[in-house]
Amino acid sequence: MKNRQEIARLKSLKLPLVIVIGLVLLCVPLFAGQFFSYLMLTFFAYAITVIGFNLLFGYAGLLSFGHALFMAVGAYTAAFLTSTFALPYMELILVAAVIVSAILAALIGALCVRYIKIYFAMLTLAFGMLFYTFLLKFYYLTGGDEGMRVLRPYLLGIDFSGTPKMQFLAGTYYIYAFVILAILTFVMWKIVSSPFGLCLKAIRDNPEKAEYLGVSVKKYRWYAFVISAAYAAVGGALLAPAVGQVDPGLTYWTQSGTLVFMSLLGGFDYFFGPLIGGIVYILLQNSVMSLTSYWRFIFGAILVFVVIVAPGGIAGVIGSLVKRRERRD
């Protein structure tokens, strides 16, 4: 029974903590510079992507090495709607991104979820690279290597073109992105604590047994694939207006590696792990890239270190520290 109380205590502690951190994040533009706010803005986009990615990786146990594809789908949707079709409504962009990515993911996923582990990783990698070559090759459609411009979207139907860009990004757009992140985080929390989430975890732990318990393993993997793709597309669609330009580099396989890196760094066994990983990755990249031109070496070394020494990621380390402390108490 003591165990239960402790869990309850932890849970009651967790929610206020999340709310406080969320409020601090929301208020960043008030006390930090515009650049830091911009970094946080990119973090929001990546956070949405990795939180969806982790449904697949952490919960369903499927390592996708081509997930940047869906981020690019979202980003290119934003580019097409704002530049080509002159429909700069952010809500429309988000909905379109979700629909396009869901359809694409439904097709790709139907093939991919038949495989697991290394085969799944390779198949998704192949699809990511196929999309990459597609973006490069069909340049009259996608702008090829140069990519496409993403114009400033209307938020809730309001045109903010009067506001200077940085003020827009660190102000209205920042709040907009934050709210979407908050909503999608909450939705994901609901998903992982739903019967569906339980079944996914069951599949990850032991797919054979899950099947005997009547869980449609492939179908559920497929659902997870589609959901995570939709999240990535929303992330990409939010990132694109902030950057102002999309290019095929977004879907190169090393970009997908970055998403895996973030999840692993933060700890994919924990709900908030990938978020921690995302923020640490972005801040780290920001400072390390300025320090040395050999920043890839440092990042590679960090990845190797995490894999060997702390496979639970930052959240895992914190978790075990908390546990040790509790045991001492």
């Binding site: 165990n3 239960r4 939705v187 609901k190 998903i191 604590s193 739903s194 019967p195 569906f196 989430g197 339980l198 079944c199 975890k201 069951a202 732990d205 032991n206 054979e208 047994k209 899950a210 099947e211 005997y212 318990l213 009547g214 869980v215 449609s216 393993v217 559920y220 659902y223 959901i227």
Partner: protein, 270 residues
Amino acid sequence: MTNEEGKTAILSATDVRKWYGGFHALDGVSFTINEGEFVSIIGPNGAGKTTLINVLTGLVAPNTGTVVFKGRDISGIGPEKLSRMGMARSFQLVNVFPNFSVLEFLMVAVVSRLGKGTRLFSSLLRDKQITDGAMEVAHLFGLDAKKDMLAKNLPQGDKKMLDVASAFALHPEVILLDEPTSGVSTSDKNKIMETLVSASKQIGIKSILQVEHDMDLVFSYSDRVIALQAGKILADSTPALIEQDEEVVCTVMGKKECFKIFSSLQNKER
């Protein structure tokens, strides 16, 4: 569906054959399980018992022959669909979700029984139907005190129980148990069998088919015993008759054990 003895057939195999290369794991097996029966399958190692279970649960498709469950051919249908049709199984080797607590483990089965697996946004823990369903089974198998323990941290016997309990939590009509007492100390075996029988009554399981090595258990709990040898049915009868059948007992238990039993019998007769 009702056969001549007034019993309702629920699961039947007709001339099932399964071979792997040149090796005939099942070589023309036919039998019928009726509602309300507790059937044990016995046989020496390699007689084809586990292959038979795998064929019956639709995991492996037979090369020839049919398996009919509730009037439908289920050869190769796959475990997931079968579980929804009302057949569940447990495993010879412990087969659990290592990182799940006992309660979560059972909830997976309950969720699937209630068809709530695709509920993406409803809260699992607030759904009384699910939690109560899981608690009920945990209670039946005496696991309620350990409901928050992780499966991987349970003692071996409890792991086994949990595996069996999860099959029961599906509320199947027929349950196939692959050596439910293997790896459990002799003293606990009877307790497990008692639990199984009473749980199946509570839940309303119609028939139990089990593979079992312990002859005492087989003879004391089964309504019927099917003896397999080299992929063929050697005998299919009541425990009382099987017990007397020297050939069967000798095949299943080995010459030495057999000699002990029958020599004493013969001595008595003399």
